[in-house]
Symmetry: C2
Subunit: 330 residues, 2 copies
């Protein structure tokens, strides 16, 4: 097996976030489920946007955020996802490359515009998301570069990619290419509602294809439709090589066939915006893991980067975090 | 004279800012003059953008920021400026309306895209700006709504609007309409380089048309090509009814025919991003002035809003500032 050119290749929806500070009343008045991500039409998003306050725009996308985090920690990162050749597509492409991530997926010249996610940030820092998938629905197997998949130590897939049909095909194909090349496949379950939409597809996919699974407590409970975290952890044990399960302020638990490693959360002074906390955890974990660190250290770095992200607005590290991977051994 | 419907109508370039944290080395390597605003072509901006780090996008424009500030303080605000009907034009229009500002200028359906300003923020919070004027160059007298001008107690013009030719025509026309209706005209000098480009036009325009002038120290020195602040203040005395001259950490000085009122700066713990400090000063000053406060109080409110803005990223107030206008009397 040739040496990997990338530590992690991410495949995901390429989205620009529209971030708005909001009051919880606005969520209830508009029938929104606090903390959830909902898929909406362009028109539904437009109506809600017009009612929303002043915004700022910032590149997002779950796997894209993770890969930006991997690169920020000094990892070799690549990302594949679909934007249109429009102003927000240019913004997305610029930011992911400026983060140090290799991004070569061709922009669409026609069809739907670049995807946008209206992120409503509550005073407690929780975010409620309304995503219009736009050009993401056109990401197809032809957009995959098989050589890039073969060249990545880990191919990381976001669960949200299960929503658009052609992307799901690409998702399955990437997993096969990766495994045929002797590489690892990682999956993030993304969101309990996403799990609910796709449970019947996810369970066999995880059993057959996934080596490293990322899920938060709500997601793993939803996957197995159980109500007890320990029961869910036993369900996933041995199904994948590594299950990294996050539990917000309780830290994370790494479950392997033989081991259960609990790691406390990193200290957080003030939660500003939880957007991207799970993405950052996966970034820290994968950066450490692909640099030969043990599972406990990997979980610690995941927690550290998540703590950085929830204390700022936006889902990608803005402060220099390169030192975290070095410091984690100290 | 009928009662004014708006406290302030702003006319200015309608711009979306692209905000990037940068090191001073990046400025010198690229031959940029720290702290200045330069007009660049789309291609020049693109080249610099590609070299720049991850960005966030936020609606900007000098007068637009001021009017968002006036509205945030509880003033009745309107804005006129030109965007294209594209993604960033939609962002600009949404944000200015969400700020509570009446904005009815028709979007351009063809021609150049919505204007963008690449704002490079140094570690000390200073910003260096590269502006591509895009659709702003098509703002013309026909875009003015004379009834709106007549309905505003103050028509506020940004000096930057002197750059595009048709906008300058609109600028002159708005001043005449305002004065014919018995209203006041305010002008911000915008930038010492802008003053340098247009000194020969500005001086007679100020003498003939301006009632309230906003300028920082560098701008008023540049206008009269003198090196001493007190000398510059004497030059402007009596030329306009009110000259509000800002001096950064030294506060501001209000000069009228008979009076000179110095107001210290509001306390600032940590400068994050100076983008929009002058715009915010004008907002605070005009909101208080049009609500019948005296010149000292108006200058104080200007200083207070400027202090809020330089302690955050972005040029428009994100925190609730409505109370400042009430509190200023206390």
């Amino acid at each position: 097996m040739p040496e990997a050119q990338y530590d992690v290749l991410g495949i995901g929806n390429a989205i620009v976030d529209i971030l708005v500070q909001t009051e919880d009343d606005f969520l209830s008045e508009n029938g929104l489920s606090k903390g959830a991500m909902a898929l909406v039409s362009a028109e539904e998003q437009r109506v809600l946007y017009e009612k929303s306050g002043q915004a700022i725009e910032s590149s997002g996308g779950s796997a894209a955020n993770t890969l930006a985090g991997v690169a920020a920690l000094g990892g070799r990162a690549a990302f594949a996802g679909k934007v249109k050749d429009d102003q927000l597509g240019t913004v997305f492409a610029h930011d992911i490359r400026a983060a140090g991530v290799n991004f070569t997926t061709p922009m669409a010249n026609e069809g739907a515009p670049t995807a946008t996610c209206l992120v409503l940030i509550s005073p407690d820092g929780q975010r409620t998301m309304q995503t219009y998938l736009g050009a993401c629905v056109d990401f197809a197997p032809a957009d995959l570069d098989p050589d890039q998949v073969k060249a990545a130590e880990v191919t990381y897939l976001e669960g949200y990619l299960w929503d658009p049909d052609p992307a799901r095909e690409a998702f399955l194909q990437a997993s096969k290419i990766a495994h045929d090349a002797g590489r690892k496949v990682a999956l993030s379950l993304s969101d309990p509602f996403c799990v609910d939409r796709h449970r019947d597809g996810f369970i066999p996919f995880i059993e057959e294809h996934v080596d490293i699974l990322f899920a938060n407590e709500d997601e793993i409970l939803s996957l197995y439709q159980v109500e007890d975290f320990d029961a869910a952890a036993e369900k996933i044990r041995g199904v994948v090589d590594i299950a990294a399960l996050t539990r917000s302020e309780k830290g994370s638990v790494v479950v392997t066939a033989d081991d259960t490693i609990a790691v406390p959360a990193a200290p957080v002074e003030h939660v500003v915006d939880t957007t991207g906390a799970g993405d950052a955890y996966a970034a820290g974990f994968l950066a450490a893991h692909t640099h030969g660190r043990d599972l406990e250290t990997s979980a610690k770095l995941g927690g550290l980067l998540a703590a950085v992200i929830i204390q700022q607005i936006g889902a990608r590290p803005t402060a220099g975090v390169q030192h975290l991977l070095q410091d984690i051994d100290g």
